[in-house]
């Protein structure tokens, strides 16, 4: 069945079974391979994307439910190849180690910063509690997220 929705601001049409996971449609059909599959059951957050501005696990969303929606993936955070302030802060702070969790952390943190540009460390930890880093590099991620907007991270 054909489904229409936008990804990172551009209209897309995909022919997929209605229960296909948004994650697979993004990665396999549309080749947005930034979103990663970690656990495939909503525990790890590596597949986090925004649907109509809200962070969700794309492994738990069937494509039929995104018909007409606006999807943002990690590829949509940079502007014409220029990294966002948040992405710059991740680079500066060394907030990526092996990197597989990074796209999910970036998208979740992006959603947080849209609502709350100056989160405290506790607010950032709470907002990011659905994202797991298997390298356990949490402190530097929190450093980056709390300092991202004003460039006041401790890195």
């Amino acid at each position: 069945m054909p489904f229409q929705f936008s990804v990172n601001g551009r209209a897309r049409s995909v022919d997929a079974p209605p229960m296909a996971r948004l994650l697979d449609v993004l990665r396999e059909d549309l080749r947005f391979t930034g979103s990663k599959e970690g656990c495939g059951e909503g525990e790890c957050g590596a597949c986090t994307v925004l649907i109509d501005g809200l962070a969700v696990n794309s492994c738990l969303v069937p494509v039929i439910q995104v018909q007409g929606a606006e999807v943002v993936t990690v590829e949509g955070l940079a502007d014409d190849g220029r990294l966002s302030a948040l992405q710059e802060a991740f680079v500066r702070c060394g907030a990526a180690q092996c990197g597989i969790c990074t796209p999910g952390f970036l998208v979740t943190a992006h959603a947080l910063l849209q609502k709350n540009p100056h989160p405290t460390r506790d607010e950032a930890r709470d907002a990011l509690s659905g994202n797991l880093c298997r390298c356990t590099g949490y402190q530097k991620i929190i450093d980056a997220v709390t300092g991202a907007i004003v460039g006041e991270d401790r890195c």
Binding site: A20, G42, C59
Partner: protein, 275 residues
């Protein structure tokens, strides 16, 4: 990769949803997908068809009128957490469901109908004297939360019925919520406690104590409630009430019966002392 080819019926209105449910009583009902997609992926669910309610806007939203709050079955935990007219303890509960990504998608109705013994919110509906609005093409009925969960994963829903809303009356007293899991976020509960206590003239006038994860269905601890009512909330009375707790939890992959017995008592005592 998930390759499920079962047909998906996607009604656009409540009337259409009820008509389709009547014809497809065995279709797996899909709301936010945070449980159904996990079961599908794990192979625990082999559906013949789906009834996807996501487009039924009449099931969204939370509203309050005449002291009664109506939570649409498709309201998400994020919606509940941000609805100020609901008791703070229920909003706290909403913030313990999974983490942000799950709260943005998981629905109140899904948590209730899924009827997991470990469902985070279930004891809260018991202590808030909530009732569930069940609708079918035949009509509408209201079932008190206390009569909804019949046995392990079995509910009072008839095959042609859908849960359409949760009705939360204005209640008196102090309301508390405690969830004990392996960690704060993304944890499936080992013990869930809902508590509501009202006072009159220095004595407990009404008590609601309900647990999840310690039996096949979420249930009120009526022996504890009975021991609290009519007495001042002294430490001795609290200890006597806690001693009256009669639960029979199981050993399972998440915890042991011993741990659950001990923790169920400790969180109850701690919450009562803190009132």
């Amino acid at each position: 990769m998930l390759s499920c080819t079962a047909p998906v019926h996607q009604p656009r209105s409540l009337a259409e949803a009820l008509a389709q449910r009547a014809v497809h009583p065995f279709a797996t009902v899909l709301a936010g997908g945070t449980d159904v997609m996990v079961y599908l992926e794990g192979g625990a669910l082999k559906p013949t068809a789906f009834l996807d309610l996501w487009r039924v806007d009449e099931l969204r939203g939370i509203s309050t009128s005449g002291g009664v709050t109506r939570i649409g079955a498709l309201a998400t935990w994020t919606d509940v957490a941000s609805y100020a007219a609901l008791p703070a303890a229920l909003r706290d509960c909403a913030r313990t469901v999974g983490a942000a990504q799950i709260q943005n998608r998981g629905t109140v109705g899904g948590n209730i109908v899924n009827a997991s013994p470990a469902g985070d919110s279930l004891p809260m509906w018991l202590v808030l004297d909530a009732s569930f609005e069940l609708r079918s093409w035949r009509g509408t009925r209201k079932v008190p939360a206390a009569e909804f969960w019949l046995a392990y994963k079995r509910t009072a829903l008839a095959p042609d019925e859908l849960l359409t809303a949760v009705i939360v009356p204005t209640v008196t007293g102090e309301v508390r919520y405690r969830k004990v899991g392996t960690r704060l976020a993304q944890a499936i509960s080992k013990v869930v406690l809902g508590l509501r206590v009202s006072f009159a003239e220095g004595r407990v006038s009404e008590a609601r104590v309900a647990y999840g994860s310690v039996g096949p269905v979420p249930a009120r601890a009526s022996a504890v409630e009975g021991r609290l009512v009519g007495h001042p909330l002294t430490e001795a009375n609290i200890d006597a009430a806690v001693a009256a707790l009669d639960i029979h939890p199981l050993d399972d992959i998440r915890s042991t019966a011993d741990y659950r017995n001990e923790v169920a008592r400790r969180v109850l005592r701690a919450e009562l002392i803190a009132l």
